[in-house]
Symmetry: C2
Subunit: 212 residues, 2 copies
Amino acid sequence: MRAVIPFKKSNAKSRLSPLLTDKEREEFAMAMLSDVAGTLVSSGCFEIVDILSTSVIDFEGANIVLANSGLNEALNEYLEKMSSHSLNEPVLIVMADIPLVSIKNIRDITASRSDVVIAPGRMGGTNAIFIRDPSRFRVDYYGASFLKHRDIAQNNGLVVEVFDSFNVSTDIDEVADIAEVLIHGTGRAAGCLKRLGFTLSGNGGRLGVNRT
Amino acid sequence: MRAVIPFKKSNAKSRLSPLLTDKEREEFAMAMLSDVAGTLVSSGCFEIVDILSTSVIDFEGANIVLANSGLNEALNEYLEKMSSHSLNEPVLIVMADIPLVSIKNIRDITASRSDVVIAPGRMGGTNAIFIRDPSRFRVDYYGASFLKHRDIAQNNGLVVEVFDSFNVSTDIDEVADIAEVLIHGTGRAAGCLKRLGFTLSGNGGRLGVNRT
């Protein structure tokens, strides 16, 4: 079984630019990647953990596979290559910006007997998708990809399961999301934010983040 | 075992006012309450399902308990009354605005052997909390209530479990949240939105909602 994390380092997490400089955003993106890849490796579920990256990155514990095209093209080429090389083993695609994902989440998703397991992100996203037979599935990210992936699977006669997890659903895109990492995170992404001076703000009312 | 849902009908869901009239907001709030209360009743886990309401409402399938004070005061009075009347049985407090909550979620939370089970909402909230011994716990909502509840439990020597669920974490407060109900909902809240003319918008890019 394999896991693959698509990753873009350059201009990563642009919606966090009101709060973080370019360099800090890269650092934070790498910390989140490190949490996700570390969890995949530690789960013990995979022979191979690949990072599908648009640039050369220095990263220990996972294979870097270079990919120049867009997210869908890169992942579909990856799936196609697996199918054609008689390496047609199950694959879990995990987004790089879900630092709250736990080892238990990964074990539970991959223990499913369904053909396809989709863990939704907020606003219709797909934060993790487990594909038992890569020769029978292609991804279609952006927009309501959760609905698109469910339809693709069903149209191919595959049994779909929805994986219900707050941890996996919590992708860190916007300034408000930083609070989720400060509240629930225990890994490198949370450490990175604390080192950069972020704390929770708001007493009693609506929650936010402060930077000292 | 009991379940209790705090509910405020008048000026409910004020942050949805850019999209819904007062009357529509009340209707939508009642539809969400109906989904949540219906799920609690159908779970078969509870002898009693109470709705702690600030006004008289017409609702079938659950008891209406009138409460005039704020959320914390009303719930803590409720917990205190349970402790003092030798009705000190486990209680599950569930927010009225989480229409995606499933029967499985309710069964899983109440099957826990921990003293307190907290299901986080987004941005530090507490969307469901299971309290095995109401005489040993008081609630403190608003702000980062997830952290406050965890601390209260731990300071009282109680074993805490965090319940990891996207369904339970998805509270419907703001305009963007409407999309979550349209994407994942199958109950009355989703039906209400569709009847009011809401559809998903955005093709390929960021998702939103339209009203026809």
